[in-house]
């Protein structure tokens, strides 16, 4: 456990000693703030259908997804690719830590950074709370959804980062893999005849899953799907480290 936290702490030191972290955080908050502003003004228009702003905020707009798909690879690209490039991976893997500990440590650090990214958005909840009644249930469910999506995508990004010693390539692989995961569910709408396949795809639709969370519905199927795919990618990441080392 101590070794795991040492890895997490070291990774966080690296995050916050590079300008990238601050650029990502600033851009993220600017974008989120702008989206929030757009949503609120959109809903202020009397002709639009009634909806809560936070429901739109959590995954209700394409901006949410676009930004997530861009930000996550930037968070994860460094994790192992940089260690491999600089050779520190050799030092790390010749100390008494397992590949699993390395992967989980790195992933947790990315998760902490991701949470830090989202934390300031809780201000929007406070802002809305001053002007109207808000139902806290969907808010917490929304944040849970954000957390689970982060778990899934960051795991994919961590895996991508084990595949190469080039950060840019790691980011592109992560982005491509996430787009595939994201669009699996969208394919469902293209299939006309209803079949088990179509239904299965429907269950994998991250957009509708996120929308459920934003509505305050915590569906265990969604939770299980996102957690299990995330864990699958973490296992793959550990295996990929082992294999790469055996090369």
């Amino acid at each position: 456990m101590r070794k795991l936290w040492a890895i997490v702490r070291r990774e966080l030191i690296s995050y916050f000693s590079s300008p990238l972290a601050y650029i990502v955080m600033t851009a993220f908050l600017l974008m989120q703030g702008y989206i929030f502003y757009l949503i609120v003004s959109f809903l202020n228009n009397p002709s639009t259908q009634a909806m809560t702003p936070l429901r739109l905020f959590f995954g209700g707009t394409i901006f949410f997804w676009l930004f997530l798909l861009f930000v996550v690879p930037v968070i994860t690209m460094r994790l192992l690719a940089e260690e491999r490039r600089s050779g520190t991976l050799e030092v790390l893997l010749t100390s008494p830590v397992t590949e699993g500990q390395v992967v989980v440590g790195k992933f947790l650090a990315a998760m902490i950074f991701y949470i830090a990214l989202w934390l300031p958005t809780s201000i929007y909840v406070l802002v809305l709370g001053r002007h109207s009644e808000i139902d806290l249930g969907p808010v917490f469910a929304g944040y849970l959804g954000v957390l689970l999506l982060g778990f899934l995508f960051l795991a994919v990004g961590t895996f991508a980062s084990t595949l190469t010693d080039n950060q840019l390539i790691a980011a592109i692989i992560a982005f491509a893999a996430m787009v595939v995961l994201f669009s699996i569910g969208l394919v469902e709408q293209l299939l006309i005849s209803s079949s088990a396949f179509k239904a299965a795809l429907g269950h994998m639709n991250l957009w509708t899953q996120m929308d459920d969370f934003a509505k305050g519905i915590v569906d265990t199927r969604h939770v299980v799907y996102q957690l299990s795919v995330g864990i699958l990618f973490l296992v793959l990441a550990a295996k990929s480290l082992e294999v790469k080392k055996w090369r």
Binding site: W5, A6, I7, R10
Partner: protein, 318 residues
């Protein structure tokens, strides 16, 4: 101590290390020599459980690699080539990280950090960011990281590459000092370094050990006949033949105007005869000195690729 039996490594049909066996007793400083691509780094990576061997057995500090690779790593301090470090961390942050990862007991972390900082002479930079350090300091920070958990076995891959002469001397002193209570395996290109630091030398070429022994023994056993360099003034063309005719001379080669290199049998000393010959012929004897073969000669002789692979020069004895 390090025990290796029939170690081989094959990368996609290409053998890099072939059937290597050796034993390094506790407290020995062993120099690992070889041309680029001889397989030194591969062997070191297998000894540190970074690469799995294709076949063979590795036992380091009493731990079998096959049985418990994590426990083996606990007993080894490894400094890879080019000293990889995290440039964004401070020296003491880095050492603390290494102490945590290497399982230094919590209560000892501070003391052991202070100890390696003192040993490696990096006290003045302990709060500095690693990326801003000079190469010499970085090398010593890397070494400090490898020592933090007091491993019984140290494996250092080219620890003095890229340092200036003063820094090289300091690192060598440190390694010599470490050799007193550690088993050290050190790879290098720099031959004088081996002569100064190591009690024993391996030369490997194309994945095989081609020589094994103390630097002195290697010179004696491998260079063959002792040689003399002779310089004669006003010698004519007959000098070479006259020298060859002396008793006990195996070969004479011309090194330049009036200069000769004589190979003679180890049981004879032809210096007296050369002096008399010069007097008799009226040549002026300008120089007469035994030529000491350097480790460089040994190295070149054993690893030159023109001929067939040379047979191992020594048996497996230690």
């Amino acid at each position: 101590m390090i025990e290796v039996e029939n170690l081989s490594k094959v990368y996609v049909d290409e053998p890099v290390v072939r059937d290597l066996s050796f034993f390094v007793p506790e407290g020995q400083v062993l120099g690992f020599l070889g041309p680029n691509g001889a397989g030194k780094t591969t062997v070191m990576r297998m000894l540190t459980a970074f690469l799995p061997p294709t076949t063979g057995r590795v036992v380091v500090a009493g731990v079998d690699l096959d049985q418990d690779s994590v426990d083996l790593r606990r007993n080894v301090g490894y400094l890879p080539e080019n000293v990889p470090l995290y440039p964004e961390m401070r020296v003491d942050e880095y050492l603390r990280f290494r102490a945590d990862v290497e399982e230094v007991p919590r209560a000892d972390v501070r003391a052991q950090m202070d100890d390696v900082i003192e040993r490696c002479l990096i006290g003045e930079v302990r709060r500095q960011v690693i990326g801003t350090l000079s190469k010499g300091f970085r090398q010593r920070v890397g070494l400090a990281g490898a020592l933090i958990h007091r491993p019984p076995v140290l494996i250092l891959d080219e620890p003095t590459v890229g340092l200036d002469p003063n820094q090289i001397i300091k690192v060598r002193e440190l390694i010599t000092e470490l050799g007193r209570d550690h088993t050290v395996l050190l790879s290098t290109h720099i031959l004088p370094e081996v002569e100064q630091v190591c009690e024993r030398v391996f030369i490997i070429d194309r994945g095989r050990i081609v020589a094994d022994g103390t630097p002195d023994a290697l010179r004696e056993r491998l260079v063959g006949n002792p040689t003399l360099s002779v310089e004669l003034g006003s010698a004519n063309g007959a000098a070479q033949e006259a020298l060859e005719a002396l008793p006990g001379i195996a070969a004479v080669s011309v090194r330049g105007e009036g200069r000769f290199l004589l190979e003679h049998r180890a049981d004879t000393d032809p210096r007296e005869a050369i002096f008399h010959l010069a007097v008799e012929k009226g040549w002026v004897l300008l120089g007469l000195a035994p030529e000491k073969a350097t480790l460089e000669d040994v190295f070149v002789r054993l690893t030159t690729r023109e001929e067939q692979t040379p047979a191992p020069a020594t048996s497996e004895e230690v």
